[in-house]
């Protein structure tokens, strides 16, 4: 549950979800459920943790947010829109011919650090960014958001070994554990067992929390960074795919279903009600 202490008018989840719905409707596109499960994670990161020294998306010395599960990019667009890094036109004309914002994270857009979409890439790029900060002795932090389905990919575990061996305590992987991947439940496609235990055994300092509880997210992120351990960090966020719209929640068809007039209106109403 959100608490009044940590809630804020900035990056309100209901507002972010409304932006996602409007973009998805305008672009007649998919991946809505995948964006909704990481709304609170991104809200908390943008509100309280990500540092952009000169308030521009490409600020020197910034923290890095790597959206390895690039198909959740509408959630990040919503945050970038609120930061003023995207225009009304870009949001309203999502997917219009000749437009720039794609359906997957593309690093040519200031504010997106990686070109992902092929899964298992962003994590390694993030490890490289974290290593760069260590080599330069800066205090920059790198966050890599991965999906639970995405961690089927082998390079994730290659990167995890490296990050732990090189004590990249400035690196945090956030696993969006919504329990689904494209074709079904993760437990049916490729059982993951305890993700927390897996990262622990790879040498990470790991914790599992409710990925929609902003106060819990905020506290867990702060606590992981405050730890004196030199281990890289893993935040396992238990989430709900499609969170915020009852008919989308835990309904995997919203990985690939497009909005029509009716479902858009109903979803917008549901999101407003949940505000």
């Amino acid at each position: 549950m959100q608490t009044s202490i940590h809630s804020s008018d900035r990056f309100k989840p209901s507002v972010l979800r409304k932006t996602v719905l409007d973009m998805a409707y305008a672009g007649s596109t998919v991946h809505i459920g995948c964006a909704f499960s990481i709304i609170e994670i991104l809200a908390v990161l943008y509100r309280n943790h990500l540092r952009y020294p000169d308030n521009t998306p490409d600020s020197a010395g910034r923290d890095y947010l790597v959206l390895s599960k690039g198909h959740g990019v509408m959630a990040q667009y919503a945050c970038m829109y609120e930061r003023g890094w995207l225009t009304d036109t870009q949001v309203q004309n999502y997917f219009a011919d000749g437009s720039e914002l794609k359906g997957l994270s593309d690093s040519r857009i200031p504010g997106l650090e990686v070109t992902s979409g092929s899964l298992g890439h962003g994590f390694s790029v993030g490890v490289g960014l974290a290593l760069a900060a260590k080599l330069r002795f800066t205090d920059q932090k790198t966050y890599a958001i991965v999906g639970d389905g995405e961690i089927n990919e082998g390079p994730i575990w290659e990167g995890a070994l490296f990050a732990a061996h090189h004590e990249l305590d400035n690196f945090m992987v956030i696993v969006d554990e919504n329990g689904f991947q494209a074709m079904g439940a993760t437990k049916d496609v490729m059982s993951l067992g305890s993700i927390e235990s897996k990262f622990e055994s790879f040498g990470f300092e790991a914790v599992t929390i409710d990925g929609h509880d902003e106060a819990a997210l905020d506290g867990a992120i702060a606590a992981l960074w405050a730890s004196p351990s030199k281990r890289p960090k893993a935040l396992i966020a238990k989430t709900v795919k499609g969170k915020g719209v009852p008919f989308m929640e835990n309904n995997n068809m919203w990985h690939y279903t497009r909005l029509n007039d009716k479902t858009h209106a109903e979803a917008v109403a549901a999101v407003a009600q949940g505000a």
């Binding site: 890439h121 390694s124 790029v125 082998g154 390079p155 290659e158 490296f162 061996h165």
Partner: protein, 311 residues
């Protein structure tokens, strides 16, 4: 060639602390000097090539200049998607050094042989492909890779075949370099990597009137020079220790077919794996890339008699 590689890498790294060497647990003795001279710039990324190339992209984003080393069977082919997406897409200055291209690991079999790497990389936008013939071309390829600050695949083949140049090179590595001058306009030999030495040997032993060029840059290709040669010569012989599909021979014929068609014999690997094992020289013979086979193919193609030692 390996000594030149090590020396150049050490020199680049000492001149620029942003130069990093990443290796996928390969290059045991090769990097002794680097580890001694620049230990803070040496990273053994473990036997994890995909992560290594992704990390190199992250390091390059943050201003570093990674040289990523591996066997050419793994760098680039195993990590082709990381090269495409993490590096080339964003034009990041990463130099991908693939060692042992062609049949160098002749005894180890298909996993370690690399005759499809050029074909795999050529279609990736913004990626340069350099294929040095000897230590002098290698040094220039490496310095130009650093200077251009763009993604480069550096294809390193058999290292001990001998030099084709008399000394250090100073011009652009992205232009053809003439190795031998001949008066016969019936045929021009264009060769890259290890086969440049074979082309020079063919000239000296069998076709002294044939002109020979080295092509150290597969991409960008020196289109202007090749088309100029196409207008002067009746036929091209293209030699490479790579599949005849998708390599230098393909690049030359694709170019010429559009602007100035010229009969071209592609001498390379004929779309098959190595089924048998043996020395490097054995596999060159087995695939028809030894000097005698080259002589026969050229003679047959352009109607030159065998062993024409014209004055």
């Amino acid at each position: 060639m390996r000594q030149a590689f090590s020396d150049t890498l050490v020199a680049l790294a000492k001149a620029d602390p942003n130069v990093l060497l990443l290796t996928g647990d390969h290059g045991y003795a090769l990097f002794d000097a680097f580890r001694k001279e620049c230990p803070a710039q040496y990273i053994n990324a473990g036997i994890a090539e995909q992560n290594m190339v992704g990390m190199a992209a992250g390091l390059a984003r943050a201003g570093f200049r990674p040289f990523v080393y591996g066997l050419s069977a793994f760098i680039p082919v195993r990590v082709i998607e990381q090269i495409k997406l993490d590096i080339a897409h964003d034009n990041l200055p990463v130099v991908l050094c693939g060692d042992g291209a062609g049949f160098v690991y002749s005894h180890l079999g298909t996993s370690h042989q690399s005759t499809e790497d050029i074909a795999c990389t050529r279609a990736i936008p913004q990626l340069r492909i350099y294929s040095p013939a000897d230590r002098f071309e290698l040094v220039r390829c490496m310095t130009q890779s650093y200077e251009c600050a763009q993604p480069v695949y550096l294809r390193m083949g058999k290292a001990d075949l001998g030099d084709v140049h008399a000394g250090a090179l100073s011009g652009s590595i992205e232009e053809l370099i003439q190795l031998r001058v001949g008066s016969d306009t019936r045929v021009a030999l264009l060769a890259t990597g290890s086969m440049a030495k074979a082309a020079v040997d063919a000239h000296e032993q069998f076709f002294p009137d044939a002109s020979v060029w080295s092509v150290p840059s597969i991409k960008p290709l020196d289109n202007a020079s090749i088309l100029e040669l196409a207008s002067r010569f009746n036929a091209f012989i293209v030699l490479e220790e790579h599949s005849t599909i998708g390599g230098l021979g393909s690049a030359v014929t694709e170019l010429c077919s559009e602007f100035h068609p010229v009969r071209t014999l592609r001498i390379g690997v004929n779309d098959r794996f190595s089924h048998k094992c043996g020395t490097y020289q054995y596999l060159r013979v087995e695939h028809g890339l030894d000097l005698e086979n080259i002589r026969k193919k050229i003679s047959s193609f352009v109607g030159l008699p065998a062993s024409v030692k014209t004055a």
